[in-house]
Amino acid sequence: MLRFFLIRAFRAFMTIVLVVTFAFVVLRMSGDPALIIMGPEAPPEAIVAFRKAWGLDQPIWIQYLSYFTAIMGGDLGISMRDGQSAISLVLDRIPATLQLTVPALILKLAIGIPAGVYAALHRDSAADRGVMAGAVVGFTMPSFVFGLILVLVFSVTWGVLPSGGQDTWMHAILPIATMSIGGAGILARFSRSAMIEILGQPYMRTASAKGLPWRRVIWEHAFPNAAIPIVTITGFMVGTLIAGAVVVESLFSWPGIGRLLVVSVANRDLAVVQCILLMVAATMVISNFVVDILYGYLDPRLRNNQARH
């Protein structure tokens, strides 16, 4: 088991190193922060001075090494734009983002899983087709389209909900609804197909044949088996709790991580962008790790494999 954890931890570390490196390379190659932050009309001396101040005049591999050693030492750098430390800028925004993404995740689970299970139990009925049509619409429609439709209906036409900002809990309703719909659709589809597969297994017949009431057959015998693919998808959604709101936050002017990322990329504010990417990578890696542990908990047949690795 210790070996399993060590291998996992090493893989997680390598993933984060890769993300950090990739972000560094792409951002450095896609534009000069000095030009963007100082503006096109800045005098050449000022630009040279800016480059020197931020170490941008060094060869790229020296920049990378100093950046990398700083990160290893826990120093995520300083925002080139306003001189604040990048990590505090990012941490300030996290609560706002979680205010949207956590309720949205709960909503996805609360709608998607029961809808999918219901559709599986009433396979090929009108209800099943209705749920699946809704799910397809939910996850194929881009979130900005769905968000705009909601704004059009609830803010413009009926005027019952605000279309942007973060002042009251009412402001959170439309962004949360927009974020939930796609995930709920995906979860419904996965829950349905997982349940249909499990319902055809011989042990379901055994459970019925011993006289177990139908409801217990479904929730105690079928659902724990169907949980594995559902947990995989849910783990992915948990991994995007921090990063998942770029479009929706921009659309509803919600001051979260997503909007900070958009602004920082546009400004080539390297430290902030890298700090956000690092955090996203870390949440992804952690949620993947938790999912792997959960697999072993959900399916005893996988436990031996984990112990062996």
Partner: protein, 332 residues
């Protein structure tokens, strides 16, 4: 009054009939074999009786358990019968147990449902049942998962689960087909001794005539959704009267046959929905006459011996080969 009386039971899947009016009585405590090729309706008969077929199956006719009618009975009533009065075990024990639930727990669940025990008492009873069916170290293995047991042990666990409800009838649906020959023999012995101890009736569904002969006093041979021959096991082995039954015996490889091959039945079972007009076996039958192709023979004869055939074989014609076969089968 018989324990179970099935009359004119029919099953159709999406409008295609697969069971054409089965009549079968099971007396208290008797062991009856249901024999036939895969797809002939042996299992479907009992799945239909217990309401375990999927929703697209249309069930007609009647299944009476004592005074109670099971066909069309409400779900709550069927749930009490299942496991409580009629228990069923299945062909592939390893996939018939839930892989993510502890084996002992799955047995305790049946104990809770049918004996009204709970908690530690249910656990103790489940361990007693595991012990009874020959799981070594039952108390220690209660918390193991099905994949930690062998195939034969999984079938023992299934039997323990079936016994939890103290059923009047155990339907064993090919319980030994997926197991090694030595394990098969152990499971058969277990079923025989459990029947002696509990007095429950057994319906043994199999295509293995040898296994059937060890457990059952009476055999029904099924073909394409009908019972074609029904008599005591002894009579069936001495002198099968239906050409299909005879074909089954001839198809068994014989130890004393030297280089001679066993004789397979020519052709294949007709598909449900494409049944020939007359007797379903007529196209494969060496004894078929004109009437066989036009008319379906009814199961006729006495209570003890009935055959659905216009050209049933007489004692002389049928006795020769199969008399010796029985010994060989038992040997194997």
């Amino acid at each position: 009054m018989p324990l179970v009386e099935i009359s004119n039971l029919g099953v159709a899947f999406s409008g295609v009939p697969v069971l054409h009016g089965i009549n079968l009585k099971i007396e208290k405590g008797e062991a009856v074999g249901l024999v036939g090729e895969s797809g002939c309706g042996k299992s479907v008969t009992w799945l239909a009786a217990l309401g375990l077929l999927p929703g697209k199956a249309a069930v007609s006719g009647s299944v009476r358990l004592g005074e109670e009618e099971l066909v069309g009975a409400p779900r709550e009533k069927l749930e009490q019968v299942r496991g409580g009065r009629i228990a069923m075990i299945f062909q592939d024990p390893s996939s018939s147990l839930n892989p993510v639930l502890r084996a002992g727990r799955q047995i305790a669940e049946a104990v809770e449902l049918h004996q009204g025990l709970a908690g530690a008492a249910a656990r103790a009873e489940a361990i007693r049942l595991m012990d009874l069916v020959g799981i070594p170290g039952a108390a220690r293995r209660f918390d193991n998962y099905p994949h930690e047991f062998s195939g034969g042990q999984n079938q023992r666990l299934m039997i323990a689960m079936a016994l939890a409800g103290k059923p009047d009838l155990l339907v064993a649906d090919e319980p030994t087909t997926a197991l090694d020959a030595t394990i098969q023999a152990q499971i058969l012995d277990l079923l025989i001794s459990l029947r002696q101890e509990t007095g429950m009736a057994i319906v043994f569904i199999s295509h293995d005539l040898g296994a059937v002969s060890q457990i059952c006093e009476r055999v029904c041979v099924m073909y394409a959704g009908r019972i074609v021959e029904q008599c005591s096991t002894e009579m069936l082995f001495r002198a099968p009267r239906h050409p299909y039954t005879r074909g089954l015996f001839d198809a068994i490889p014989r130890l004393d046959a030297g280089r001679e091959r066993s004789i397979p039945i020519p052709g294949t079972v007709p598909q449900a929905g494409r049944m020939p007009a007359g007797c379903a076996f007529a196209p494969r039958c060496g004894y078929a006459t004109d009437v066989c192709h036009n008319q379906v023979p009814a199961l006729s004869g006495t209570e003890g011996r009935a055959t659905a055939c216009f050209n049933a074989l007489d004692e002389m014609r049928s006795a020769t080969a199969s008399g010796t076969t029985k010994q060989k089968v038992e040997f194997a």
